[in-house]
């Protein structure tokens, strides 16, 4: 791609300096919104652009904003910077390198929903980034771009950072709200959804960092421009975090609809030691395992197309697995992750992951028998559809699809226990 929309620091190295960001038109979109547009006009443009949430769920962003309950005030905006999905490292690059475009996105969305306070909830590990953003926010306040009565209007906005402390579940928006309220990060029952009952019980929009960073460019260039990029189902660009057994792991900003093959073999340089590709996890550890055959590799990466492969695009954290890796090892890793990160609130997730861990450890160690593989599959199937939030659901995706689509890897392990 010639021109970046999100990772613009790669071609404009000084974009993290406010002067440089303003020189290329930075904060003009925010200023224009506040001084000459109504909040609903801003929301309508974002709606028309086709922008969908980049945190994994892919919910239409403008539509979410329009759900805010206008009979209940104050309103809040929260930027979800709890980036913790194994295989995801895109929001970090944005915040570290293109902080003002992200902050402008937060500011525009705040104006669009009438919020005077916005919080950036960062995972605790992003301690350095939080301090960096604090400095940038202070600079904006000094320049009169954030603060009280902006640009001679009555609109005021303050942005605050808030650090989590190492809990994956806080990326789930209602668990995030609980955490921000000073409680354990355990999800709330939905509905009500945050736009009607959010932070402190007030209407709240929670958007991912990447989602918000798109907004200034959409306001600047218009909804049609954005819609012309990507596919009909999935407008615009996406940052694909590519990791695992590839030669050049990293973030790649590409239009939706780019094929797995192009991402992995052209941008990612192919598989380490030129081995054969075996499986793809398109949405990090929460992903279903896709058999990496020609059909899968030629599938365009957009929300609808990836679904035809029995998986979801999610946050587009593409983990590549080659033929040196056995799938029982992969799901041993994912189960350990979810077992550790289960918040303990609902029984299927808490107990289910506990038992899945016991079983996969035996299977992976080669002491489990075939019926234990079936039992593992059964436990996973029984977790599905019964969890309080998506974490529990996601914990089973790699397990069920791994056993269904790569049965040989499990048979080999089980057999070895009988032979031995």
């Amino acid at each position: 791609m010639n021109e970046y929309i999100l990772l613009r620091h790669r071609t404009i190295p000084n974009i993290k300096d406010l002067k440089e960001y303003q020189a290329i038109g930075g904060f003009e979109a925010f200023k224009k919104s506040v001084t000459s547009m109504t909040p609903s006009e801003v929301t309508d443009i974002v709606k028309a652009s086709g922008l969908r949430g980049r945190g994994g769920a892919g919910f239409p962003t403008g539509l979410k904003w329009s759900f805010m309950d206008n009979k209940n005030w104050p309103h809040y905006v929260i930027a979800n910077a709890d980036e913790s999905e194994p295989g995801t490292f895109k929001d970090r690059e944005i915040m570290e390198n293109n902080p003002f475009q992200f902050l402008e996105g937060v500011a525009i969305s705040s104006f669009a929903v009438g919020a005077n306070a916005a919080y950036i909830y960062l995972r605790g590990e992003f301690w350095q980034i939080a301090h960096f953003l604090d400095d940038k926010i202070a600079e904006l306040e000094q320049m009169g771009i954030l603060g009280d009565k902006l640009f001679g209007t009555d609109y005021s906005l303050h942005i605050y950072t808030h650090l989590g402390a190492g809990a994956y579940i806080c990326g789930e928006e209602t668990a995030l709200l609980e955490s921000l309220e000073g409680k354990r990060g355990q999800p709330r029952l939905r509905p009500p959804f945050p736009p009607s009952y959010g932070l402190y019980g007030k209407p709240t929009v929670v958007n991912n960092v990447e989602t918000l960073t798109n907004v200034p460019m959409i306001l600047e260039h218009g909804a049609n421009w954005y819609k012309s990029i990507g596919t009909e189902d999935s407008a615009g660009v996406k940052i694909f975090s590519l990791s695992g057994r590839v030669k050049k792991p990293g973030n790649y900003e590409l239009p939706f609809g780019t094929t797995f093959r192009e991402l992995i073999f052209e941008h990612g340089g192919g598989i380490i030691d030129d081995r054969a590709i075996k499986a793809i996890m398109p949405a990090g550890a929460s992903s279903s395992l896709i058999v990496a055959d020609d059909k899968a590799l030629d599938t365009p990466m957009d929300y609808a197309s990836v679904r035809t492969l029995g998986a979801d695009l999610g946050s587009a954290s593409v983990i590549v697995i080659d033929d040196s890796v056995s799938i029982d090892w992969v799901i041993n890793k994912t189960i350990h992750f979810f077992k550790h990160e289960s918040c303990g609130k609902c029984t299927p997730c808490r107990e289910g992951n506990y038992w899945m861990q016991h079983l996969i450890e035996r299977i992976h160690a080669g002491v489990g028998e075939q019926h234990e593989v079936e039992l593992l599959y059964n436990v996973a199937k029984n977790i599905q559809g019964k969890c309080f939030c998506a974490l529990g659901e996601f914990s089973t995706m790699a397990v069920t699809t791994g056993i269904e689509r790569f049965p040989q890897d499990f048979e080999d392990k089980a057999k070895s226990s009988i032979d031995g």
């Binding site: 194994p86 490292f89 992003f126 809990a167 921000l180 990791s243 695992g244 550890a285 954290s317 992750f337």
Partner: protein, 173 residues
């Protein structure tokens, strides 16, 4: 005014200013980070102080310490090295990195070196999958990332802390 308030008067005021007055409970996590600054863990006394400031019970504060992995109720090495060995990092050698580094230091994962300087722990994904092996170092002061590491570079880093500590203790003598 309790001990924590006395020590971090300005910081606490700043933290509380971020949240609406009637929702000061939101400050519990930032205050725990403050309480952890000195010894790298939160003492029971500090939990009581935080509870008093935020009008919570000490149990509620303790439940936050217990829930979140970056808060610690017990002391460990001055430097906690937390190595990510999650799926993506493990596909790029993080498991053997963890094992070899522990071997070099003569400890097991989760243990602290006999001089009390370093604790090595495995940790869940750090959002640095493309730069594995990667670890973060948590001290009371904060958190720093070290990416694209080798056992040699990690040992060099630990050695530089040893030197620093040695210098520090000589100066105080």
């Amino acid at each position: 005014m309790n001990k924590l308030e006395e020590k971090y008067k300005i910081e606490i005021k700043h933290v509380l200013s971020k949240y609406p007055n009637e929702h000061k409970r939101s400050a519990v996590m930032p205050l725990l980070y403050l309480a952890q600054r000195d010894g790298g863990f939160v003492t029971e006394e500090a939990m009581e102080d935080i509870a008093e400031i935020l009008e919570l019970s000490t149990t509620e504060v303790a439940s936050i310490v217990g829930f979140y992995t970056l808060f610690h109720a017990h002391s460990a090495g001055k430097y906690r090295i937390q190595i990510c060995n999650d799926l993506s990092c493990a596909l790029r050698g993080a498991d053997s990195f963890l094992e070899e580094l522990c071997k070099e230091l003569g400890i097991k994962p989760g243990e602290t070196t006999p001089d009390g300087l370093v604790t090595i722990e495995p940790v869940m994904c750090l959002a640095a999958c493309h730069r594995a092996p990667v670890f973060q170092v948590q001290t009371g002061e904060g958190l720093l990332y070290y990416e694209n590491q080798t056992v040699e570079s990690a040992l060099e880093l630990i050695e530089s802390w040893r030197e620093k500590e040695k210098k520090g203790s000589e100066e105080t003598v």
